[in-house]
């Protein structure tokens, strides 16, 4: 039975992120301990950030917009973030993206099939490529609040 949207409202932490390719091979694009926060706000906005903490390093300077090409590349290759509005559509939750670190995502509607299981939610994606791994992604999130 489809969930009510109230059941998604809150803050969620990423527990597991796997991508399964067409041969059935499973990869973890951000490693076995990915870091992520997903917010479904009561006002209809959503935010998501996912990262591979151990691959991030630090910039030599203190200007977030002033990193060197090498620093910027390392930061972008280990972190993914986007924000926008969210809505439930049957068994799917749709993220209408307004802003994203990856410019290509802006203006897209990201469809996720969701499965709620108590304090856990699993989001399944259409085929995509993330950090070199291609296939259907499954992201398991645990409710924080």
């Amino acid at each position: 039975m489809p969930a009510k949207s109230e059941q998604l409202i809150g803050s969620w932490r990423l527990q597991k992120w796997i991508i399964t390719d067409e041969t059935g091979a499973v990869k973890e694009p951000m490693g076995p301990k990915p870091w992520g926060l997903l917010i479904y706000a009561a006002d209809g906005y959503m935010s998501a950030m996912l990262a591979m903490p151990e691959a991030r390093g630090r910039f030599a300077g203190n200007d977030p917009l002033g990193g060197s090409p090498e620093e910027a590349h390392r930061a972008m290759a280990s972190c993914h973030a986007y924000v926008g509005r969210w809505r439930i559509d049957g068994e799917r939750v749709v993220h209408d993206v307004e802003m994203a670190l990856w410019p290509n995502m802006v203006g897209t509607s990201q469809v996720r099939y969701y499965r709620l299981d108590g304090h856990r939610i699993v989001l399944k994606t259409p085929p995509m490529t993330r950090k070199g791994a291609s296939g259907v992604a499954e992201l398991t999130w645990t409710r924080v609040t």
Binding site: S11, S68, A75, A77, V83, P103, T145
Partner: protein, 142 residues
């Protein structure tokens, strides 16, 4: 309504400026847009982006070329974590940020409300012999 209750919700960036001691305002990213959410359960998420960002040629957000990622990083900022109020001080405890140096940092801001706007200001920063603050003017997102 307390400032804490007033801040809860999603805000849109109306103006983002470095403000010098003489009042000169300089936008860090001209034409920037932004969304900032403060949830009642204590999480915050801020995203600020410049105008006219260029798409990547490929379809992997974490697979951009050096040139693509440098452009993307020079025109966007995103971070999230916990927030709390201490008097008029707003504290962001950053848990994750595209800018790695902020991870784990506690960033102190002051807030004031003018009509339906929230104005969030950094504490004074001294750099290169000048003292300035960064100011975010926010309007409630609809």
């Amino acid at each position: 309504m307390s400032d804490k209750d007033k801040l809860v919700g999603t805000w849109r960036l109306a103006d983002w400026a470095r403000v010098d001691a003489d009042g000169t305002r300089t936008p860090p990213l001209p034409g920037a847009a932004g969304l900032i959410t403060y949830t009642a359960d204590g999480f915050m998420f801020a995203t600020l982006m410049g105008a006219n960002r260029k798409p990547f040629a490929g379809f992997d957000p974490m697979g951009g070329t050096a040139e693509e990622t440098h452009h993307a990083m020079s025109t966007a900022l995103s971070y999230c974590g916990r927030w709390r109020m201490e008097g008029d001080r707003l504290i962001h405890k950053v848990e994750l940020s595209i800018f790695p140096n902020w991870v784990g940092a506690e960033m102190t801001r002051t807030t004031r409300f003018e009509g339906d706007r929230a104005i969030v200001t950094t504490l004074p920063i001294t750099d290169g012999g000048k003292t300035f603050v960064f100011e975010l003017v926010l309007t409630r997102a609809r």
